[in-house]
Each structure stands twice: as C-alpha cells, then as structure tokens.
Symmetry: C2
Subunit: 751 residues, 2 copies
Amino acid sequence: MYINIDKFDISNLANEETLFHVANGYLGVRACFEDELSKDRSYSRGCYINGFYDESPISYGEKFHGYPDTKQSLINLPDVQSISLYIDGDNVNPFNCEMLAYSHQFNLEQGFVRRKYTLKDAKGREFTINTKRMASFVEKHLFILEYTVESHNFNGNIEIVSTVNGDVSNFFAKDDPRLASVAEKPLIEIDAYGAIDLLKLNAKAKNSQLKVYVGIVHEFTQGLEREGYSTATNALVKFKGSIEQNNPITITKLVLLADSYHNQNPADLIDEKIKEVRANGAAYYFYAQEEYLNQFWNVSRVIIKGDENVQNALDYNLYSLLASVGRDSKFSVSAKGLSGEGYEGHVFWDSETYVAPFFQFTQPQMAKTMLSYRYNILSYAKEQAKLLGHSKGALFPWRSIEGGECSTYYPAGSAQYHINGDVAYSFMQYFIATKDINFMNDMGAEVLLETARLWMDMGHYTDKGFCLDMVTGPDEYTCLVNNNFYTNAGAQYNLYAICHVMEILWNKGLGDHLKVSTAELDEFKKAADAMYLPYDDALGITCQDDSFLQKKKLDLNAIPKDKFPLLLHYHPLFLYRHQVCKQADVVLTYVMHKGIADEDVKAKSFKYYEDITTHDSSLSLCAYAIIAAQLGDTEKAERYFKETVDLDLNNTHKNTKDGIHTANMGGSYLTIAKGFAGISFEMDGINIAPNPIQAIKDYSFNFAYLGRTIKFNGTIEGFSIELIDGEDLSINVYGESITLSKDSIWEDTYK
Amino acid sequence: MYINIDKFDISNLANEETLFHVANGYLGVRACFEDELSKDRSYSRGCYINGFYDESPISYGEKFHGYPDTKQSLINLPDVQSISLYIDGDNVNPFNCEMLAYSHQFNLEQGFVRRKYTLKDAKGREFTINTKRMASFVEKHLFILEYTVESHNFNGNIEIVSTVNGDVSNFFAKDDPRLASVAEKPLIEIDAYGAIDLLKLNAKAKNSQLKVYVGIVHEFTQGLEREGYSTATNALVKFKGSIEQNNPITITKLVLLADSYHNQNPADLIDEKIKEVRANGAAYYFYAQEEYLNQFWNVSRVIIKGDENVQNALDYNLYSLLASVGRDSKFSVSAKGLSGEGYEGHVFWDSETYVAPFFQFTQPQMAKTMLSYRYNILSYAKEQAKLLGHSKGALFPWRSIEGGECSTYYPAGSAQYHINGDVAYSFMQYFIATKDINFMNDMGAEVLLETARLWMDMGHYTDKGFCLDMVTGPDEYTCLVNNNFYTNAGAQYNLYAICHVMEILWNKGLGDHLKVSTAELDEFKKAADAMYLPYDDALGITCQDDSFLQKKKLDLNAIPKDKFPLLLHYHPLFLYRHQVCKQADVVLTYVMHKGIADEDVKAKSFKYYEDITTHDSSLSLCAYAIIAAQLGDTEKAERYFKETVDLDLNNTHKNTKDGIHTANMGGSYLTIAKGFAGISFEMDGINIAPNPIQAIKDYSFNFAYLGRTIKFNGTIEGFSIELIDGEDLSINVYGESITLSKDSIWEDTYK
C-alpha cells in the first residue's frame, strides 16, 4: 500500500506537494521541502485547519441585490514544516545542491510520508536527508516531522534550524476562476515565543478574528546543543553539533495546532496537548497511526485482485478521503480536502454527493458528522433563500465555509439549486442505510422539510407539470435553464422523502416539533407526482433541460487539445449557447435515481451526452463509469473507472497542484459500489444488482448496512454476498428478497 | 420656452444640478451652486467632456474568459464653475444664509440658464446673486458663467474669487449597479497657473493618459482690483472692491476646455480659443447662441397647441438631446448625455434606437455623425466578437466609450446581442430617409455586413427555423434566453438590409471593396427568410422568447411600491424566473418593425405584456405610447406619452440626480413622429399612417426626408401633410402613394 515517486522532477514538485500532503481531517500540511530558504520554490507552502477561514470583501463591477458582500476563504496558517540545514555554516538545500538520488513515498498502511534524497553540495559533500511526516489520526491536533541527516563523505559542524513562521500568504491566480483572485496576508497579531524546549506562536485572522495556536516540541539526537529565538513573526530553535560520516542525526518536530473555530479555548488546549505529546513521544503516535489505519482498511478497503495500479490508486483515494473529512460538525469536506487552496477551501455539493456516500458505506458515523454540518448551517440556508427572493424554505449556499454564500458568480454558483436536492438526498440515503431515527428526528427531517419548502416556493404548475425555472444543473457549461432534469429529479426525491419520513416519525410518535401539516405534505406529494421530467420523443432520450437539445452542437473533435478545459478558453455565453457539457448531468441523475428512466432511454441518453461531454469537471468520469457498468458496457465502465481512479496520481486535470479532487476520489469508490456491485438504497431498503466486469477480474469490499457488515465479491463469472457481522437480514438482489445469515454465502451470476 | 423652479428645496438640489446643467454636445457643466465652500453640498459637482474617459481595472470574484480586464469611465474634469463671495471678509453662500427668494430658469430659446436668489446673512445683509450659464453651441469649447451680486441694504467691501480646481473626484455608489462602484480621483499631473488676466490648468487622466486643458478669462465690472494665485491643484483670481446698495457687480467667467481625445493639439487649441474669446466677448456668444437655436427650433420643434406643460417638457427634451450628442465621430451620446455620471458615461444601444432617430427626422447630418462613431469602433466590435467565441463578424460592445466592452455583468450586458441589430437598423433607416449612398458605401454597408455575419455565426437552423440562442433582449428582467423576439426580428432586418443594400450598391457600380459574394448574401437571405419569430397559438400573442410564457407570473400589484425599481430589491435569479419585464421588449419590436405582426396579435400582446411590465427602465414608456397610438388607444397613448415627456422634469424614476434620460427624451419625440403621426421608413420608402388623437388636440412638426422639409399637422379631426421645402415628391400615406408639391397641402382623416 504505497504511492511512490522516484524521480526528482522540478516541474512536478507542485503536484507532489499536493499528492504527498499529510492530513487527518483537522489539519493538513503540503509536502514542500523543509528548507525554509527554498520556500520561494514552493508552489504553495500550505498548512491548513479544516474550515479555518478569513473573510474578505467581494468586489463587483455591477453589484445586484442579494449578492454576498463578503466571502470566507480557507487561509494558510503559520508555516510549521520549516527546517533548514547548515553544514559548516553553508545552507544546503535541494536547489543549491546536486540531487543524486530521490524517493518520495506515501505509506498508506502506516499513514506517513517518507522523502529520502541524497545531495551533493558545491564543496563535494554528500549527504542524505530522510524525512517522515504524519498527520495523526488519533491526535488530530498533531503533525509530526522527523528529519534525519546522514553524511556520506565528510565530518563537520552541523546546524539544523526548526522554525514556525507566521509571515505567510495565501495562494492566488487572477485569471483562473477556480482559485482565489487576490493575494492576502491573512494573519495579524502574531505572537511568537522561541525557547530551546518549546516553540509557540499564535495569531489571528485579520477579518474573521479566528485565532490559531501552534506549539512545537522536539525530539533529537543526543549531544546537540540548542538555542531558542523569536522575532516578530517567527520562533525557532537551532540544533548545533558535529556530524560524522555514516552517523545520522535526527530531529523530530512534534507540531500541535489548535484554533478557535473548532475549540472554545484553544490556548489551554494547546498547552494540554503539549504535555500529552511530550509524555507519549513520537513513536507512540506512529504506532497508534498504524492501529487506526488497520481498523480503517478493514472496513473500507476494496481489494482488487490482479491490478496493482488500480489497487494502489484506489487505496490512495480512500486514504485521502479519510484525511480530508472534518471530524466535527463545524465543517465537512472542501473540494480539495486539506491539500491545497483551490476553490478557497469551500464546501460544495461534492461533499454530500460524492464523499459522504463512501463513508455511509464504510463508516456511517463519519457520514453523520458530515450531514450534521448541513443541519448546523440551516439558518444560513434560510437566510440565503430570503436573499434570493423566496418567501419560505432554505437554500444551501453553493460554496461556503461557515454557512454564508461565498459564490461571486451566481450563474454557476447560487443558481445551482440542485444542491438542496443533493443535501436532502444524502440525509435520506443515510437514513435508509442506518435507520438512524433519532438523527432523522433531531436534524434530518428539518433539513428535508426546509429544502422541500424551497421547491414549493420556487416551482409552479404549467401544462407540462410542476416546473422549476432559472436554475443551473451540475453541468456548468449550461447555465440558467428551465427544468433541469437533474434538479427536478432531486426536488422530486426531496419532496417524496419528507413525506415518507414524516409518516415514519409520526408513526413512532416523533416529529411533532416540526411544524408541518398533512395538508402541506399533500402539497409536496402533489408537486412530486406532477414533477416535470423533460424527455425528447424524437430522440428517445432524456432532455438535460427544456432547451438543451435545441441548441447548436459543438464539435468537440474540432477543438484543439490545448483549448481544454473549455472554461479557460471560451466565454460563458459561447459555452452556454452550445450543446456541450462540462460534466455528467443527465447521466448523474441516473446514478442517483436508478429507476427514473428505462434502460433503453438510459442507453440512448448515455451515448448522446457522452459525445458532447468534455469531463472538464472532475465530477464527471465516475458517473459515466457507473452508468456504463449498469448498462452492461464493461469496456467503457472500466475505461472510465481507470480514468477516475488515477485522476490525481496522473494529474490528468492538470491542476492537482491546487489540491486533490476529493469528489472524484469518492466517485472512484462509488463506481465500485454502485457501478460494479450495483448497490442502491431505495426508499424500501437496499437493492444489489451487480453488473458484469471484464478487465477488472476480481474485487471485494465490506460495507455497512443497518448495523451489519456485509462483504461483496465480484468476479468475471459472478458475485457473492456474505454477512460478516450482525444478525440475519433480508435484502433485495436484483429486486428479489433474499435472506443473509452468518453461516452461508449468497452466490449468483449476473443478470 | 422656459423651464422654471421657484422654490428653494435642498432635497431637490441634486435633481436641479442635472436638470439645469448646460451642455453643447462637447462639454457639460452641472448646475451646482458656484460657491466653492458649499461644494460639499453638491450631489456631484460635475464638469465633463463627451467621451473623455479614464480607464480602470475591473475586479471579479471569478473571472472567466473573454471578460474585459479594464473599463473606461467618463470622468469629472476640473471644477470650472467655482465662484466664492466674501462680504467684509465673511464668506456668504446659500447654506450659511437665509434664502429669501429663489428662481432657477432654463431659457430654451436663448440657450442659457439663469439662477437668481436673494440671501440674508447672519449680520442682516441682504443681497441677490444672479447667475447666467451657457455652454455655447457655436463655440463648443466654451462655457460662460456670468455672476452678479447686488446689495439691497448695505455698502461694504466685496471679494469675489473665481477658481478652477483640479482636485476632483468621480461620483460613485457601491450598491447601485447603475453607477460606478468605486470613488476615483482620476486627474494627475495637474499644472495650474493663475494670473489676474488668465487662469490656466491642465491635467492628465491617470490611466488613459488623456489630457485636458482649461483656459479662463474674465469680464468684470470696472473698478475691481484683481490678484492671481495658483496652488498645486488650483488657479484662482480674486476680484476685490467695494459694493454699494443697488449697484450690482458682475464677473463673467469665460471658460474654455479642450482635450486630447477629440483634438490633436489641445494645448495650442486652447491658446487660440482664448484669443478668439477675448476678442469676441461674452455678449457675442450669447447672441450667437440664440441665432443657433432659432435654426434648431425651426427644424426640430414640435408645436403642441393647448398644452403648455407638454410643450415645455418636449422643448426641454429636444433641447437636451441637442446638448448631449457628440459633434464628431469620436463619441455619440451617453445614456445621461453630459448631465451626470450615471452609467459611467457609456454609449449603449439607446443612442441608435432612441436618440439618432430624432436627428434623422430633424438634422440628418447629426444622425450621420452618430452613426460614424459606430463605424469608427467597428474594429473593436470585431475584437469583441472574437472574444465571445465567434469565428466571424462584429459584435458591438454593450457599453463603451472608445469602443472596448465596458460591461462587467454580461447577462444584462454583452449578452444583449440585439445592439447589433439596433446599430444596423439605424444605418438602414438613415439610408432610407436620406438615400445617402456615399455614406452607405463608405461606412454603412460594412457595418451591416459584419453585424450580419455575426448572426450567421451564432445562429443555427432547427425545425423551428433559424434560431439565436443565449441572448438577452431589451428586457433586462429576463436574461440569457433563446430566440428573443426582438433580437431575432432585428437580426432578420439586418440580414435583409445588407442584401438590399448590396444590390443597390452593385447596381451603381459601388461596394466592390466589400468582400462579400452573392453566395454569402444568399445565405443571409435564407436565414432571414427562416428566422424564427416565436408566437403562442393558444394566447394569440408574440412570445418574448422561447420560454418566457412558461414562467411563473409575478403579481406586480402585490409588491410594495418601495420595492421598485425591482432590480434594487430582488436578486436577478428571482426576476429572471418570473414573467416580469423591466421594459418594452415585444412591444418595442412592434415599434421598429411595424409589419412584423398582425394588428390583432399586437393588441393582445400589448395587453399581455403591459400587465407585467414595471417600466423600471426609462426606455419603456415611449414604446408603449407609440404602440398604444398605433392601436388606436388614444387614452393610453396620451397617458404613456405624458409619463414619457416629463420623466426627468418630474423625476419619476427618482434618479434624475444621476443625469437625464436621453433615450426617453428621444422616445418622447418618437411618440409624436411614429406613434401619433405614424411615420415609418420601410425598405421602399416613407409611409405615413397617422393615428387619432384626443387629449392632445393639435400638434405639428417639420421633418426631413430625401432632402425635403415636410410639415405634418395632426388634429382631433384629421391631419395634413405639406411640402415646405424641396422638389415634388411621392410618399405613401396609409400605404397609398400620393404626390406632395409645394403649392398644395394633403389633408385627410384618420383611417
């Protein structure tokens, strides 16, 4: 379970910084070189806490009513990964020495990253730096950086400087709408304290006033002398001593981070954690990390027999999801996790639609935490609904941290009302898979209710049915349309779901705190029944929206390769005017609502939209993989799956430098679970309708359902389903009920 | 021919600054109080040169391809209207004295503004200030300000300080998309020179590097002493002397402005103009102004018998148009003329659609100059087409000064492709009315050709016909739609027009420089023939666009009055989602393309759209007036006409403070000419189809057609048409050909 890079390639370092970042859902540190003097060579020398934001005003050429005035952005925290090396007074680093050997490795089983490289400096001195980094899963405030120097051909004086630096900036790029457009130095009131046995630094985000506290203690090779210093923005400790050939020297930096967004009293917390970490020592945490991951892989790993590349890539993706998702309900998961500043650290619909399902399958408690975040920001969503002119209901912000809308371009932002359906869907799916009635009563039902009310407020009846106008679906190359199929299907599901849930709650004597009448539920049901789902008779396909099929087609083959992604090369009006999709839209609807169209319609629609989809969004390939699998097109399913699974490792979207694509990673799991294994959660429970496979010859995984652990194994010939843990259970296989017991395996061939 | 305000109302001063501004198409000065020390009481102490801009970067939260990086804005030039008054050392001004009497008058016949007011200061001294301002039509670089003080009850020392001040700012309002959003001090390198007989100041716009030169000479009552001063940003001259009861003292400030946008060598020009003005003296220019206006009113005035209010308002409007329109082809007319900074001094489609037609009827040469501006910016329009992804053709910028797109919100900006049709239409109408074949050959045909090519590039054939997708029509409450009726009709006209024009040019052996083939023209004609013009069978009305009639209706009666204009109180998505119109769209199409729908369809459509139109845009009422008149609804026609004609004088849009509404002013004329008199210019020539009138009992006006002057008179009973000047001519009346001769009057009753 390793990811390796064995070639030193300066042009790839920005991607390595992302790929080998270490994170644990609370903090994340990019894999930059430690040497502080080489920091200008870092693409983005990032250290983040999930959801730790600063606020900045948004500037508009023409500002309209309801536009957000300010936005929140994930900010770069004090640089804790700095370690500089001096040999006989000379600073030596990867950029002023010759690189003789290089390897970078992510150990996914033990949960750390090792980088080992041998340098030769101008004076001919050769030495190896060996670093090991870990963001601890058992102590979420802890980042460990072990740094070893070994001389190969000299003895001399050595100085190792370990720093924490508060003078940091945020990353930006003016002309890329996917990145922040203005550079910011977000930290103020920096207070640094440097002593030989402790570095401390605290600072405040300029506008949000959120506070971050850093504490650092070191373990080190006996015999080194130490000096502590601090400046206005830095605290550092110098380790001085002599180095002898083949006699390595190690400094281990144990970094603690705490903040006021997640904690009431981060100053005290950091002091307490310093004590704990001193007492336990680094080795304890490395050991505990492996233990933790053993548990994780037991419940989460998909075993792919006979394809090591796919196995590694999938392992990497699932590990990255674990590392990205918030551990409390103050934040769920940003588009880039804790690996970079792309999309400014915002939560989008990805969290519910692509990431939460993985946890629902493997660790439902984590999915629940993610959903709790949505419940917590419901008041913001109600406010957003008001701002957009609605008289009732809630509209989740398109992109946000603490809950306020941070979208500065509503056509591909706030207009994506489908996020309401996505959130509702995720609550309902979690409920089906867990029957967690208390959570539904306490949080879920209110979310389902308020999102449902929004549809009722915005929608209206025409001779076509219940219509939802002027929205943007998932496909961001087609904006501001009427009756986007995906949106309408999500709204319909949302409306049915709250009706279904209220019936269950009322039957159990729950839900009375929700002020909803049967008359209102009847209205919901009426609208859901009448929901207009556009279909084209002549083509026999689903329409993406009312007007999509009437637009001009764009011949994607005629567009030069360097013009992709199209959004960086064509004006929105050009894209919106054409039949061209950034991503799965109709096809994604099929993923989420399996019964919404006949197989024949799905097959024709798949083909139609496939031809005009660029997959410029990373949220697209997996949907195509899933539906291809469900349609029995094993060749395509596996091709799309392989493109999905190593999207970041191969940097196929050319922006892995800005961060990993967490949604796509979730999608790689969903391709297995929903595409190949064909698992779906219908209102009446799970259904497993496995699909044939070819190139991928054998795969298996465990998943959670109603408190049980179920193992699924798929091969070319057929599949098996086994109850690993828990009481006997009836489930549907291809729509037929079967009973699983612990002492027997259900085996079958594909239908 | 006067506009009067006789009440001193501080809350109305911002409007007065606009209404009584003086301008001449080149320069404009707002009617602020002269006293420099009261300048903080000015809403916007503006002095402008038409098209004199500075450039500034545009900031976007998310910037997409093809968005403009910078925009140009009309900037406030050095303050030339400042005159301060000291009596025995005390500054006295309208805000530190008691106002005993006040009158503000625009003399539209002689072309100046007089403000006369009597003040009583804290020491009981009473005196009258009497000012007279003029922007000279015969010397466009000249603004004159005559300032008289008369004591009523005291003798004493007096000091009058006349200043030119380069330390000025632009007006802004962060939350109003109709105004600039950031305050700027646009002038740098200010060089001021103050001597007793001459003030000079020059400065440069910070980013555009455009230069402005000011020269000021004074005439003054004998016996005053003078002192000249200059500071870093100011030049001033002090007039000192004694004042005696009932013995007025007058200072006349003759201000010359020249600039490098319109002139090659403005520095020399200003010196030359200073000499001329010194030699001629102020009286000469006041006299010449009246002569000039005599000519203007002879050809332009509409005589309304029996309704003085309408007469005055209409006079004011036509005068304002004369004062607003550029005199060279470097600029045509901004939305606010030279009266304020609303819409940042940009040219929109208003210039061709609402203002140019007035000049075409009355002074075709002025219309030609306006159209030349469009020809001059054609290269920018080609560039804009490329930026928006088109492979050929030209797309005029939605808002601009020198030609580059300045729109920062494309849904109600660059997406308004109809501007192409509007420009083309205006060229063609001018050609029909003048048969100016050389202008068409030199400029017009190329504009018609490149705009036509744009439609071909963006449009495509479907089973409905030739379709134009993803545009915004005139109605800015309905954005990004397919097949906007207005846009499609304009494109159709454009395509037919270039075919028609090329035939004429080729027949005369002209047009060979235009690289267009008969095959390309055939394509134009084919697309025009197939142009899709949406129509709703069930309702029997024109559809504003493909989806408009399927949207939710908005009950305008349920919306509180203080929520208008809606754009300041509702998010764009809310507005776009509903059937609600900011302005005439379908109805405006009927104005421009009389034969495009049957009377019955027009009548039903008028009613339908009338109910859902807010007229939040000032470009709307006149279109409703015109079509009401054409439909024979005299009551409505006259009601809409009256709302049109005094929109600024009554400040019904509540933003006259930001500038006059030039388009609406043009519309007030067009209501007479196209609505009441029923004049239209068809491809084969003029047609006059007068419509009945009621409340307006008798009106008459002259207009130009094919070199002739024709007089039209409409009364309740009928109408007459008379050839005033030029050779015999055949014209159509109600579609029937008649011949006009100088010795007979054609009289008829309404059909």
